[in-house]
């Protein structure tokens, strides 16, 4: 699944699609709605108000895994995971955090080891993620669930910039 090049593990968008697909099909497919690569040419508007969930990996590989989706989609995935419409804002944070935790745990297993996974962090609002000298995007997957776009991305960081949070 992953390719090792000069000691650096290279993760592909297909890997991310596959991992996210496992997570979604296990816990979010009760109504038959499956995760798929983004079909419409309308990726997530990351300039708008969105929910950002991340986990960091520290160790032989340092980086972060990020899940971004609209607040409406975050509410929908929470309702689907709990199988009830009666969800609190805490449930939404919890559910989205668990999703990125599962994606992150599986990404971690493909990267150089040993390493440790942090607890998930979830934020809402306008957050801009950009590459710096210490952080760079390894790959991303623009996906679609129930016709709504969402994005999963993996960022590699140097040890100086490994204190969690978003890139």
């Amino acid at each position: 699944m992953s390719i090792v090049s000069d000691g650096e593990v290279v993760l592909t968008p297909t890997d991310l699609e596959e991992i996210a697909g496992w997570v979604w099909s296990a816990f979010l497919s009760e109504d038959g709605a499956m995760m798929s690569p983004l079909l419409a040419d309308a990726p997530l508007d990351t300039d708008g108000e969105i929910v950002h969930a991340s986990v960091a990996v520290h160790g032989a590989w340092n980086g972060q895994i990020l899940l971004e989706l609209t607040e409406e989609t975050a509410l929908d995935v929470s309702r689907a995971m709990l199988q009830t419409n009666d969800v609190s804002p805490e449930d939404v944070t919890d559910a989205v955090g668990e999703l990125v935790n599962m994606v992150g745990g599986n990404v971690k297993s493909l990267m150089s080891s040993p390493s440790a996974l942090t607890l998930p962090m979830v934020m809402s609002g306008k957050v801009k993620h950009r590459a710096t000298h210490a952080v760079s995007e390894v790959c991303r997957a623009d996906l679609e669930w129930r016709g709504k776009p969402l994005r999963v991305s993996v960022w590699s960081s140097t040890r100086e910039n490994e204190n969690g949070g978003t890139p």
């Binding site: 199988q83 449930d91 607890l119």
Partner: protein, 122 residues
Amino acid sequence: MKILIVDDSRVMRQIVVRTLRQAGFAGHELVEAANGVEGLEAVRTHAPDLVLSDWNMPEMTGIDMLATLRASGSQVPFGFVTSEGAPEMVGRAEAAGALFVITKPFTPEGFQEKLGPVLAGV
């Protein structure tokens, strides 16, 4: 039969409960705890027949909880339900005394495969 579910995510505890039911393990008494510290207390209070625990949790991790249990002499059957499925994590879990590791995301079939023999032997 009493099963203790330890996970800091309420959503995940709900999914574990649902998956136990879907896997044919309905009817067991279920107890929940939100981290390793609460889990240790729940083992003392409820004397479960099986512990299903997350790995990464605030306050106390699942692996530290397991080590504390074994150091205190408790041999309660213990399995991890975690996103940490890398071989070295499975090795650490088994070395600490875990019976199995179920990797998230999981399925009812995965629960049947790992829990069936354990629950049959309790």
